[in-house]
């Protein structure tokens, strides 16, 4: 897929929780097709502390408005600067980067996201729905504040929630949710993105049920286009770049 570099215009910077926000960005030309799981490398700019671009999953795409959005958690200097962006300001993106989630072989799929790791699951659930599949979305967090924009997923499929403190949905970790106990055999593919322990737990259950599982990795990255080889992950086929050969990997290929 051809990659682009464009200056996008911020049309909305929507603070959705204490430390998370969604940037809505308008493309100056027609948006190219963006696949679920792909990401953009964002130039924060004007900061010696945030010199390199930052990779973010593409959260949603609106081809009619010519906009894409990014779900971002404020964790450091780069994301702090992004959180302060105002409507009308521009942001330089290199995109769309990386491979994408595959379409499940069967009808039903389970999409699991933890915290801000839910980001790529919105576009995935939308695309699966468009293709006539039934995505069930399971979001996990420490408390209800970590369950980000849950209403968006109900447009495309069923929504399930777990929180560590029980403030929303079922109490416990995602793999303790009743969908795993009751419905797991219905899914032809499982997708996960979030903290490493969560993805490992989901991958383990998937493997035990012999269900294909794809996870999206977030390795430290410099170029995003396969030039620097900084973001490699160990696979059964040797080191692979997260930026070009990922970020989506079948868990059978990873050394978890």
């Amino acid at each position: 897929m051809k990659k682009f570099i464009h200056d996008f215009e911020v049309t909305l910077n929507d603070k959705i929780s204490n430390d998370c926000f969604v940037l809505y960005l308008k493309c100056p030309v027609s948006l190219p097709t963006i696949l679920p799981g792909q990401f953009a490398e964002i130039l924060v700019g004007n900061s010696s502390e945030a010199y390199l671009r930052r990779p973010f999953s593409i959260y949603d795409v609106d081809y009619q408005k010519n906009e894409l959005s990014l779900l971002i958690k404020e964790v450091g200097k780069g994301t702090l600067a992004l959180s302060k962006l105002k409507i009308g300001e521009t942001l330089n993106l290199v995109y769309p980067l990386g491979n994408s989630f595959s379409i499940p072989p069967g009808n039903k799929a389970l999409l699991v996201g933890g915290g801000v790791g839910i980001a790529p699951m919105l576009l995935l659930s939308k695309v699966l729905n468009e293709k006539g599949k039934q995505p069930d979305v399971l979001i996990g967090g420490r408390s209800k504040n970590d369950i980000l924009e849950p209403e968006k997923y109900t447009v495309y499929g069923n929504l399930f929630v777990t929180t560590d403190d029980g403030s929303m949905g079922e109490k416990g970790m995602v793999t303790q949710h009743s969908v795993f106990a009751e419905k797991i055999s219905e899914y032809s593919q499982i997708y996960a993105c979030g903290p490493d322990p969560m993805m490992k737990a989901v991958a383990k259950v998937a493997a035990s049920q012999n269900i294909p599982c794809e996870i999206s990795l977030e390795n430290t990255m410099a170029c995003g286009i396969g030039a620097c080889l900084c973001c490699v992950v160990e696979t059964v086929d040797g080191n692979k770049t997260t930026c070009i050969e990922g970020p989506v990997f079948n868990t059978k290929k990873l050394i978890l």
């Binding site: 130039l43 390795n219 430290t220 410099a222 170029c223 286009i225 030039a227 620097c228 973001c231 080191n239």
Partner: protein, 303 residues
């Protein structure tokens, strides 16, 4: 229109702007963003005699105005390069210079000898300065006898343009430059990365799997500029300047300090179009200063 062409030994470059090894893949990675043919040359990712998996992740740490890397020369070896990569890049209408590294003198010789017949590989850059491998790499570039030995050995099997990329992790870089010049180097690239380190204080752990790594980016530019200035006064062969070059002004500064050409490295990660912007900026500078030939700028520092 100023004449931007410069000569590195037998190579006539369209202009002094080249991409630095390890930051530009094989050029193909940048085809979506720029016309690679416009560059003076491209320096490929390092090529070794055998396949190398490189170091364990994490291999990168962002630092103020720069980054540390410890990739560790990951590549599939010279035979794979010749069979699989060369056919994909030989169409480029620019100088393709392969960065050559290894753990042993024999390994360097093997790679150079195998590359020698490739028509479109018009030169090699001996990497005796990689700080991220346990054996070889920087060990060859931090002592005059070792640098001289590997240069002489490769010279005996390689008859096209041979550039030697020097390590800044030495007390006197000019002496190393002279040692490789004496043994037949046609040019020197100054500088490779500076050995550095990053720590995660919360976890009391190093950030890189290898603990130390090579520092690059604007943070190292003043050091690189000083070393280019020193080396260009010490040797007669052309000096290629690199280290933190991010814009045309930086590039001009390196030319003034004595570099005949420049390489753009880490800045490619921040802006994949930066090489072309630098090229356009050099052209603009020449026009603004009434310079008809870019060679007028080389070593033209007034002090």
């Amino acid at each position: 229109m100023p004449d931007l062409s410069v000569n590195i030994h037998k190579l006539q470059l369209k202009n002094p702007v080249m991409s630095a090894s390890g930051t530009f893949g094989y050029g193909l990675e940048f085809d979506d963003f720029i016309d690679v043919n416009k560059l003076g040359g491209i320096l490929t990712k390092a090529c070794t005699s055998k396949n190398r998996d490189g170091n364990k992740y994490p291999r990168m740490a962002e630092t103020p105005s720069g980054m540390l890397n410890s990739v560790g020369l990951q590549n599939k070896g010279v035979d794979y390069f010749i069979e699989t990569i060369y056919p994909k890049i030989k169409h480029y209408d620019t100088h393709i210079i392969v960065n050559v590294s290894d753990s042993t003198v024999e390994g360097y010789m093997e790679v150079a000898e195998k590359l020698n017949p490739l028509e479109k590989i018009t030169g090699i850059e001996l990497n005796i300065s990689c700080p991220n491998v346990k054996e070889g790499g920087m060990a060859f570039g931090t002592s005059c006898p070792m640098a001289g030995t590997v240069t002489k050995a490769v010279r005996s099997v390689y008859n096209k343009t041979m550039i030697v990329k020097l390590s800044p992790n030495v007390t006197n870089i000019s002496e190393i430059a002279k040692a490789v010049e004496d043994e037949g180097a046609d040019s020197v690239s100054v500088i490779n990365t500076l050995l550095g380190m990053a720590i995660n204080a919360e976890k009391r752990k190093p950030i890189l799997s290898t603990i130390t790594g090579g520092l690059s980016g604007p943070a190292i530019k003043p050091i690189a500029l000083r070393m280019v200035w020193q080396v260009s006064k010490a040797v007669k062969i052309p000096v290629i300047g690199l280290g933190g070059i991010s814009n045309a002004t930086d590039a001009i500064e390196f030319l003034l300090a004595g570099a005949t050409a420049i390489q753009v490295g880490t800045a490619n990660f921040v802006d994949p179009q930066v090489c072309i912007k630098i090229l356009d900026g050099i052209d603009e500078y020449c026009n603004r200063h009434g310079i008809k030939n870019v060679n007028e700028l080389i070593g033209a520092l007034e002090c």
